[in-house]
């Protein structure tokens, strides 16, 4: 999929996949997903600071899931880290997506969060596909389509000499 690097605000309108409409929609998805995580994180920071005690409790309750003993072990032994990283991580992931910076890297961490939410939150009463899985797929979409390149700062960062000399960084940007 191409994007109009020269003029992202082009007034062309097309129903083709490569058209400006696709870029507009991917950017919109990115901003909404970013706001979702930023809101979740920053409100935790406001209320509990870096001591979000529900985080370790949540992991300790994840017994008998497909992730085995890993989340329970994390809840028991990495509580101090989880308490800080849940609000901080959600906020940073949200900011990354909102501004389109390091979108692919932020989305990998977002997908990790959503995997824990999907496996731990749900009783799957309405089937395996629920809002948490859709959120996980949204982060996958951010990675695959490199949505930071559409009206995001990654489009500018990727044109710097530093990134051009290190093209593998585009797997983390974009």
């Amino acid at each position: 999929m191409s994007y109009q690097a020269a003029n992202p605000l082009s007034e062309e309108f097309s129903l083709e996949l490569s058209g400006p409409l696709a870029g507009y929609w991917l950017a919109f998805l990115r901003v909404v997903t970013g706001w979702w995580f930023f809101h979740a994180g920053v409100t935790k920071l406001i209320e509990d600071g870096l001591s979000y005690s529900y985080g370790p409790m949540y992991l300790q309750g994840m017994e008998g899931t497909a992730l085995g003993p890993l989340p329970v072990w994390m809840g028991n032994n990495l509580g101090w880290l989880i308490e800080a990283m849940v609000p901080l991580g959600e906020t940073l992931i949200g900011l990354g997506l909102l501004f389109g910076v390091l979108v692919r890297l932020a989305s990998v961490f977002g997908a990790f969060f959503m995997t824990l939410f999907w496996v731990g939150n749900a009783s799957f009463g309405h089937g395996l596909v629920n809002g948490d899985l859709m959120g996980l797929l949204l982060f996958g979409t951010m990675i695959v389509f490199a949505t930071g390149r559409y009206y995001g700062l990654d489009a500018i960062i990727e044109r710097t000499k530093f990134v051009k000399n290190r093209p593998r960084l585009r797997y983390l940007l974009g």
Binding site: A111, V119, G125, L133, L136, N165, P167
Partner: protein, 102 residues
């Protein structure tokens, strides 16, 4: 950055996609064919007093289904790490051409 898919790329896409579709859709069809409950969770049946008299479990344990999806996601993650750590064809050449000759 246009690259052609190598064997590892194709294998990662095929295996992860297969595992995730198996966990979500294929075993979902199995569950529908097996009858109630149609969700992926156990359903408690209660009497008029609200006491649980019976529990119906899904035909396929949701732990197995979520496990298949997570396995697919792990393969995608490992594939991503492989892509980040593998040199891109022409990468070194691109970097050396940026060095001033004087």
């Amino acid at each position: 950055m246009t690259q052609t898919l190598n064997t590892i790329d194709k294998a990662a896409m095929a295996v992860s996609g297969f595992l995730m579709v198996l966990g979500i859709a294929v075993l979902g069809i199995v569950e529908i064919l097996a009858g109630e409950p149609y969700g992926a969770a156990a359903v408690e049946q209660t009497n008029e007093a609200g006491e649980v008299v019976n529990t119906i479990y899904p035909a396929v344990d949701p732990t197995i289904r979520t496990g298949l999806v997570i396995l697919g996601l792990v393969i995608l993650l490992l594939w991503g790490i492989y892509k980040v750590t593998s040199p891109i064809p022409g990468e070194e050449q691109a970097r050396t051409t940026e060095v001033p000759s004087d």
